[in-house]
């Protein structure tokens, strides 16, 4: 990962100020997956960066790839998601998606399917109301693309098929049969909606509601906490403020 500056397209996952005028940003690019980059003079140079380096902005950037911290030469906002920025619940959900991407994706590994998922979620949030159902749709598809897909057709321990009575969520965020473990119950209906979410490719098609939404949430929250290795700050924020 070294060479001349190259044009990349990506989404800003996080950005923080460094020194007087610089910023360090984390980007999820189509071409190279997640990369960290140093943007020299980003807070001063409106010409080279404008307002492009804001969290969840979709940008086109000129990046000089290096092992570790890349150099971001310039960036231009392709879409700043004004619809998201004008609604607090949307901001929180968009930031959560970015934080999840930052914690769960490997550095320097292209994942175009995940880029498309993240980008579609931001587009969806920009035009539609933020709902927990859509967040769950994003989460289950994220786990699937990143290789952490929970087994939905049978017990993760013994392989037995789940019947109409459903399953339980283990402490490791897996679905197990009631004979293999203890935990919060998850009905067959919720498992079926999770499977359907993986089959449908569009936001807004699958709707989790009521008890099924709560049960799917228990599984997805524990699976994400298990694979991310920590509780995500933005998720805590969403919970505390009930967005």
């Amino acid at each position: 990962m070294r060479g001349n500056p190259e044009k990349v397209r990506g989404i800003v996952l996080s950005a923080f100020d460094y020194g007087e005028s610089d910023r360090i940003v984390s980007l999820f690019t189509i071409e190279h997956g997640r990369v960290k980059a140093f943007a020299r003079g980003a807070r001063k140079s409106r010409r080279r960066f404008g307002h492009a380096l804001e969290v969840f902005s979709r940008i086109e950037a000129e990046l000089r790839l290096k092992v570790g911290l890349c150099n971001l030469q310039e960036a231009m906002a392709d879409k700043t998601f004004i619809g998201i920025r004008s609604d607090l619940a949307k901001i929180c959900n968009a930031m959560y998606a970015c934080e999840a991407a930052e914690c769960m994706t490997p550095e320097g590994h292209p994942l175009p399917r995940f880029y498309r998922l993240l980008s579609s979620y931001l587009d969806h949030l920009d035009s539609e109301a933020a709902t927990e159902s859509d967040r769950r749709f994003f989460e289950v598809n994220m786990l699937n693309i990143l290789g952490y897909r929970p087994r939905l057709d049978g017990c993760a321990c013994c392989g037995a098929k789940f019947g109409a009575s459903g399953a339980v969520v283990s402490a490791r965020g897996e679905l197990v049969c009631k004979g293999c473990g203890e935990g919060r119950s998850i009905d067959a209906g919720a498992i079926s909606l999770l499977s359907e979410s993986l089959a449908k490719g569009r936001f807004g098609v699958v709707r989790f509601a009521g008890e099924e939404l709560m049960q799917a949430g228990v599984l997805l929250d524990s699976a994400i906490a298990e694979h991310a290795g920590k509780r995500l700050k933005s998720l805590e924020f969403i919970r505390q403020n009930r967005f």
Binding site: S14, G19, E20, S21, R47, G50, H51, E54, V55, F56, M76, A77, T80, I82, R85, S86, D87, L88, I91, C92, M95, Y96, C98, E99, K233, S234, E236, F237, I238, Q240, N241
Partner: protein, 197 residues
């Protein structure tokens, strides 16, 4: 060589903690002060004075030497509060000479990514001031970053429960700039917030 002079080494390492100061600048500053002992004394006195005399105003949380600060105790319009993120923003507003009301410094902004929630900034104190009944208008002047927008939206939601006029600073094309060089999002915001003349 510097390690032999521990006091100088300590001064350099303290300078290096300041924003934008690297090893070379820290060294240059330290040697400059060493050349003129009077400057060194004045600097050390100024540092101690600023530590001992400045604190947050108990009303608006701006940086002050008196309590309440000169703005809160002065002849300003106390019915209008301008909410800013930090004391530097308040100074920028004061430089404009355009605001004649008082201020409320939040000492931060909401940031879901950093885990900064409503209880970490001075929102409760603002609501107490507003619910006292003497306030008629609140101008939200948080930054136009995602965090600043989130804070403004959160405050708007809370302030709507009170009988006050709520407004947000206008944003759009900067003074003296050509529209052809302004980015698309700023033009979009400017069009949305256009004024009839």
């Amino acid at each position: 060589m510097l390690t032999n002079i521990s006091s100088l080494s300590r001064l350099v390492s303290e300078f290096k903690k300041l924003p934008g100061v690297g090893e070379r600048t820290a060294l240059r500053m330290a040697f400059h002060l060493l050349k003129s002992p009077s400057n060194l004394t004045m600097l050390s006195e100024a540092l101690l004075e600023v530590r001992d005399r400045t604190h947050s105003c108990s009303v608006c949380f701006a940086l002050t030497e008196d309590d309440p600060c000169s703005i809160c105790s002065g002849n300003r319009d106390h019915k209008a509060i301008c909410v800013v993120e930090n004391p530097q923003d308040m100074m920028a507003m004061e430089r404009s000479n355009a605001w004649h009301g008082v201020y409320h410094v939040l000492e931060g902004s909401l940031s879901p990514l950093a885990g900064t929630g409503p209880e970490d900034i001075r929102i409760d104190e603002l609501l107490k001031r507003v619910s006292s009944g003497n306030v008629e208008e609140v101008v939200i002047a948080t930054n136009f970053t995602v965090e600043g927008e989130a804070t403004a939206l959160f405050l708007t939601k809370l302030l709507r429960q009170h009988k006050v006029r709520i407004s947000r600073l206008a944003h759009g094309i900067p003074l003296g700039s050509d529209i052809e060089f302004v980015d698309a999002a700023t033009v979009q915001w400017a069009l949305q917030g256009r004024n009839e003349i």
